[in-house]
């Protein structure tokens, strides 16, 4: 079974993935978190984005 980390790595950098040139994070409230937990959230956020579950705050060329 693929780990969350592997899933996030494939999504960001794998063949057919986003081809990410740079990715960074602003950590949340909880201090004792694991890389697996954060990776799971990375994947979950992209799944929401793919479903169009977001609001545009500022668009290109505003």
């Amino acid at each position: 079974m693929a780990t969350n980390l592997k899933q996030a790595q494939d999504l960001l950098f794998g063949e057919g993935g986003l081809g990410v040139a740079n990715v960074k994070f602003f950590p949340g409230n909880k201090r004792n978190v694991t890389a697996e937990e954060v990776a799971a959230e990375v994947v979950a956020v992209f799944e929401r984005a793919e479903r169009g579950e977001y609001k545009v705050v500022a668009d290109i060329g505003e």
């Binding site: 980390l5 996030a8 790595q9 960001l12 950098f13 794998g14 057919g16 993935g17 986003l18 081809g19 990410v20 040139a21 740079n22 990715v23 960074k24 994070f25 602003f26 950590p27 949340g28 409230n29 909880k30 978190v33 694991t34 890389a35 937990e37 954060v38 990776a39 959230e41 990375v42 979950a44 956020v45 992209f46 929401r48 984005a49 793919e50 579950e53 977001y54 609001k55 545009v56 705050v57 500022a58 668009d59 290109i60 060329g61 505003e62």
Partner: protein
Amino acid sequence: MSFRDLYDYVQTLEVPIQESELRRKLRELSSIPVKVISIKMNPDLMFGKYISHRNEDNLYFKAPPGTSVILLSDSLSPDWARIVQFKELMHLFDDPMQHTNNAEEFEQLLIGLCDQLTGRTPQEESELECMWRALAICCPEELRVELSQHRDSKTLSDADIAKKLQIPERFVPHLFSANYKTNVQILLTKPSN
């Protein structure tokens, strides 16, 4: 693009510094398109994310390749949303060596964010640098010196200053910490990316 250019521009602005004004100036300085979106995130794990992608087959955000996309948690208060957006925008200044652009660096970054005991990679250094850049552009230096005097004489509290700058109170002490000027000076003298 040099952080100095943005910093100098901020010195001419009134507080609170507006996100739209920063984005406009960054676009002028860098020509990199920026898109900001608000999306559900687990606030225990993440408040924001910066991503620059190259693959046009995966337009998750309906943004062309090369666009810098900033994702903000939709649960943030306006002051938190401001500081998170400022910090993520500062990744436009990342040195290419600090880019997280492969699976190994990504894993190291996550491990580093979760475990403060590990040594810092260039990617983790960038996270810290961007936090200091974000603080530096929240408050023009002349005003910071003035606020510092009020803070010392207790005529203004951290809550008052936070309200004036519209940033979370938690960040105010960092603006007046002993290493603030040194850290900002280091960032101002870094070579352009």
